[in-house]
Symmetry: C2
Subunit: 335 residues, 2 copies
């Protein structure tokens, strides 16, 4: 593989001049730059990023922490869609994305932080992880530029899907259609779940409704069988809800399939999902849900991360809330 010294030999310039020419240093005249670039192309020169990193202490490489958390991992459309957007934005700005892991060295597992240091990562994007894992916290508090999704660490910028707004939008939609008895089956206890519950209860309060605590059910994200199990006692209440919000679209679609199947159902129940996965738009009836703006979340995350890397002086940790939008489907019906 051609290197800088090959170009130097061929052009008669020194390594220093070639390097400067290729990097657009102002002290090199146009004509020289042209010669150098021409020869570089002829030789098929490709800069060696590791040699570069070694000297510059800049790798133009970002770590992505993406752990198969809720047994959904990369397959969760919300997260993978964030990752996709992050990938596009990073490429646009000239950075690579490498998955973080506990890669081992000499039979010894490395911590995430060690991994990041070892690869000289310029910054880290934490998309999906167990935020309470000490190894993750260590990473977040290390001083390396870190941006997190849907979780706030002190000193790190966080990009949050606006869960309060999400639940509020759904509530308003149901309320407007005449629903007053609304239940919410939420996912397992996480930060996001807390926000959703808060958003839900705030919306109810805003309308002067006080919902029985039995209207709140707990289940697990992306495990519809747990959701159905939580739903059952709620429907058996003496005064059952007329509308129920599910923790995610998968549960809602599962319920939908089950419901349309049982033609024998007594009263029609309105319901909504959460996330806005593609399928919700394709099925009939279209699912009512809140579409999280995962694309924007991924894009902004990388944007903020790279901005901080490239000009640390301007950096101030922020919490950015990204609003999604209501998808008015057909599964919340008029009362």
């Amino acid at each position: 593989m051609a290197k800088i010294s090959d170009i130097a030999k061929r052009t008669g310039y020194s390594n220093a001049t070639v390097s400067k020419a290729l990097n657009g240093s102002p002290e090199i005249p146009e004509s020289t730059v042209a010669t150098v670039k021409k020869v570089a192309r002829e030789l098929g020169y490709v800069p060696s990023s590791f040699a570069r990193t070694l000297k510059m202490r800049r790798s133009f490489n970002l770590g992505v922490l993406f752990v198969d958390q809720t047994n959904a991992g990369l397959r969760h459309e919300y997260f993978s869609s964030i990752l996709e957007a992050a990938k596009v934005e990073a490429e646009k700005r000239g950075y690579d994305l490498t998955f973080m892991s506990h890669t081992n060295y000499g039979g010894l597992k490395m911590s995430y932080l060690q991994h990041a240091k070892s690869r000289g990562m310029d910054g880290i994007l934490i998309v999906s992880a167990n935020f309470l894992d000490p190894a993750v916290e260590e990473l977040a508090q290390s001083g390396l530029p870190v941006v997190t999704i849907d979780y706030v660490y002190n000193g790190c910028t966080a990009i949050m899907s606006d869960n309060e707004n999400g639940m509020n939008s759904l509530f308003e939609a149901a309320y407007a259609l005449g629903h007053r008895k609304i239940a919410f089956i939420h996912g397992e206890e996480t930060d996001v779940t807390k926000r959703r519950i808060a958003g839900f209860l705030q919306a109810a309060k805003a309308h002067g409704l006080s919902l029985p605590s039995a209207y709140l059910g707990e289940a697990y994200y992306h495990r519809p069988e747990t959701v159905m199990a939580a739903l059952e006692p709620i429907l058996r209440l003496p005064d059952p809800p007329t509308c129920v919000f599910f923790p995610d679209d998968i549960s809602a679609i599962t319920f939908l399939a089950r419901q349309t199947q049982e033609a024998k159902r007594i009263h029609p129940l309105s319901f909504a999902g959460y996330d806005g996965i593609d399928l919700t738009k394709m099925i009939h009836p279209m699912l009512s849900t809140y579409v999280q703006n995962s694309e924007e979340i991924g894009t902004i995350a990388i944007d903020k991360l790279i901005n901080r890397i490239e000009d640390p002086r301007l950096f101030v940790p922020e919490v950015v809330k990204v609003k999604g939008h209501l998808q008015s489907g057909d599964t919340i019906q008029k009362r």
Copy 2:
């Protein structure tokens, strides 16, 4: 950050000895190794992977080509699930995964091959891409270790989901339940599609059935509206099929939702999807489909790739077919 020379100073050994001790060279006695490792731990030493790569010409980094092809990209559960498995396997063997891209250097976009060379990637996994893109072909033919998924390049190892077997299994299942008039709406023309059509027709032939060519419909993967459009004329045929195979689970689920909705339908149509996404198991009725073994595909792909990297002499390009399995759901009914 602590470096080897710091350990050397502290222990009194030379850089060379420290390096060898850390890398398990046989010429260093146990006692020395112990001392060195102890001090390394105390100083929080983390090896610099780029300095290492520079010298060794081994980065322990693999490139992953994953292009948002059919506007499904990372969100396609089949692919993201392969990626997830690849990630796990790579970590297990001490390699990192970096997304390939057209990262630019000095305002100039790099080809995939240049990118790979620049990052010193030890090998490439092509998961999803436009295989006819010259930039992708260049990469595949460059001599770098490359493994592809669902496409065969000369000289590269390819891991293939067994599409012939998939269509055959589905056909057998339908046939066993009494279906003789079976239609297949396939995706856009790709290598995979060709294999599926071939598998489908072979299965029919094996039973001495000759299906009217009108039973084959063309649509696009993951665009259910095109699938529904292709289905319509087929159902209007004078002699319509009793069972139809869809190109993917998304279309099948879309159809399911639509079908259960229209209670007015005249005759029940049996159908099946393809892929085996999680949701197919959750809904009621359970979808009949062919579950591709994406986990094994991802794992094997990385395994073969690393084996080739670590012992190139043993390398012989192979085409590995990975069988999936039939999911006997409830959407193919007895006739």
